[in-house]
């Protein structure tokens, strides 16, 4: 399915080391426009590092990253945000002292293309995103007063307010109950239907299975499998990475 789509994001031989550890090791992949790509792997596999390389929070030691045909691997994070790359953080990063509405307004004021310069219009867009993510009742609360699931929603709303072309979701479903997971899966599908390309890291296998057009698996920083979700989950190397050798 992805072959038919023009790649929006293309990673070529990305490598990132931390002292001795190679967190991401020679990883290549591409992401078609409008596609949802699931990124899975055991803890410490390098998933979050890979997302940070794409969003610009980290810079790769080697390799190239192309976004919409343009080299971006050395660009500052804010420039990548202006190009249309939005992300959420696994360890959530709300602006704790600001209200929920102000948190999301920051995304609308900056974001893709430099954002909406008018504060009133930015606030309107932020309200729409809060409606969409189910936080409409919480607009005036301080972000630090939100509970876990609402913080996840806030992360999502902040990234969405940027109106990204590419959305990088780092475990937005961790800690949610099954009903909440289903809600978020529904939200992500609707975001894709709006034309947003999505890279999603998730441990909830059921969610990944129902969301992803394609899945790719990282283990010890290397890509060990890629393809159709059903096939990937049957791959013995993937089963081994997750469950250990004996069970495989």
């Amino acid at each position: 399915m992805s072959d038919a789509l023009a790649p929006l994001l293309e990673a070529r031989h990305l490598t990132r080391r931390f002292q001795g550890l190679v967190a991401v090791n020679d990883v290549s992949f591409s992401l078609g426009e409008g596609e949802i790509l699931g990124l899975i792997g055991p803890n410490g596999a390098g998933k979050t590092t890979l997302i940070s390389l794409i969003s610009g929070t980290l810079v790769p030691d080697e390799g190239e990253l192309l976004f919409a045909g343009r080299r971006v691997e050395r660009l500052a994070p804010f420039r990548r945000a202006h190009l249309g790359i939005g992300r959420t953080f696994q360890v959530m990063k709300p602006f704790p002292g600001l209200s929920v509405l102000e948190n999301v307004t920051v995304g609308a004021l900056f974001g893709t293309g430099g954002g909406e310069r008018n504060r009133a219009r930015a606030r309107e867009r932020a309200r729409a995103m809060l409606d969409f993510t189910g936080l409409a009742q919480r607009v005036d609360q301080r972000a630090e007063a939100l509970g876990g699931p609402d913080r996840k929603r806030l992360e999502l709303a902040k990234a969405l307010a940027m109106q990204p072309k590419l959305l990088l979701l780092d475990e937005v479903m961790a800690g949610l109950n099954p009903v909440e997971v289903d809600e978020v899966v529904g939200l992500i599908k609707r975001i894709r239907d709006e034309g947003v390309t999505i890279l999603v890291i998730e441990h909830v296998i059921k969610a990944i299975r129902s969301l992803s057009d394609r899945v790719f698996v990282l283990h010890h920083g290397q890509k060990i499998a890629e393809g159709d979700p059903a096939a990937v989950f049957r791959d013995p190397r993937v089963v081994e990475a997750y469950l250990g050798k004996r069970r495989a």
Binding site: P77, F78, F89, K93, T112
Partner: protein, 313 residues
């Protein structure tokens, strides 16, 4: 609306002070206004982005020396001196800010710490700056002029901060304070924003230094690059409410008044009592007077307990 009317009334009352105040009151007023400008200027970077600058006493010194050199050495008018001082300070902020505002958190504060000592040593060895003897400016006995100039400067600084708190630029600064990584990936050009805030802060600080120099008529390196002045800027801003529009001004006025009252009644122990006031303020209202005002309206005296609990004191 009522709030703006109250602010306008207070501003008018302050502007007319030379008509009804005596000479001592006006002199006290000049000091209090200039210190309030310094607190407000410090607030632009420190209050909005959370980056504590200890370089502001350097900008103050450059404003002081810029004005003094222009007037004492070249016989230029006061306003030209102010411009020169402001330009020097802004240039310094730019040169210092671009490399060190890439640093995160406490490293910025540490990097700015040595700046005023370095510049103090530099001017003490420059002939044009009067070496370590200092410079004497032309004498002008017109306290009303100095008073009104200081008030106008405070109004300008406060309007700038009011604009900040309502603008996209200010929102970016606040986002940096709340979480710089998140601000960057959401599209805030963090380094540029911090540098612009520092340059703006330097502008108001330097002009205050220039007015003070012309008023005092004598400057030397130790008084111009006085790092305890920087500490006062921090205390007054934090006391009033960092990141708010009126907090630093209110904080500066109240602390100036307390200090003045203590110094006149119990001169020797004044510093000690001033210290006690600061300690109590930090314990009971760590987010400043402005937050105390909101908290009291919302939950009454319980606010004090809540903040003590929240900050685990």
């Amino acid at each position: 609306m009522l709030r703006w009317a109250a602010i306008a009334a207070v501003a008018l009352l302050l502007a007319l002070l030379p008509l009804y105040g005596d000479a001592v009151t006006i002199q006290y007023g000049i000091n209090a206004l200039l210190v309030a400008v310094l607190a407000q200027a410090w607030n632009i970077l420190g209050g909005f982005t959370g980056y504590a600058s200890f370089g502001n006493s350097t900008f103050y010194g450059l404003g002081t020396y810029g004005t003094a050199i222009a007037m004492a050495q070249f016989g230029l008018p006061f306003w030209t001196g102010l411009l020169l001082g402001a330009a020097l300070a802004m240039l310094c902020a730019l040169l210092v800010g671009i490399p060190i505002l890439r640093l995160r958190g406490p490293y910025f504060a540490i990097a700015t710490l040595g700046l005023s000592a370095a510049l103090s040593a530099l001017v003490a060895n420059l002939d044009i700056a009067g070496r370590n003897i200092g410079l004497i400016l032309p004498l002008t006995r017109n306290d009303t002029l100095f008073y009104e100039a200081s008030l106008a400067l405070l109004a300008a600084a406060t309007l700038a901060v009011a604009w900040l708190s309502a603008s996209r630029f200010g929102m970016g600064l606040i986002a940096i304070r709340e979480d710089e990584d998140a601000a960057a990936v959401m599209g805030v050009n963090t380094t540029l924003y911090k540098v612009v805030a520092l340059v703006l802060s330097a502008l108001f600080t330097a002009v205050a230094g220039g007015i003070h120099a012309y008023w005092i008529t004598f400057i030397d390196p130790a008084s111009a690059f006085d790092s305890t002045l920087n500490v006062r800027m921090v205390i007054m801003t934090v006391f009033g409410g960092p990141g708010t529009v009126l907090g630093p001004v209110v904080g500066a006025f109240i602390l100036s008044a307390i200090y003045e009252a203590l110094a006149s009644s119990i001169s020797t122990a004044a510093a000690l009592f001033f210290g006690i006031v600061i300690v109590l303020a930090v314990i009971f209202m760590p987010r400043g007077l402005v937050d105390l005002g909101w908290g009291f309206r919302r939950m009454g005296p319980r606010y004090l307990l809540e903040t003590v609990r929240q900050y685990r004191l």
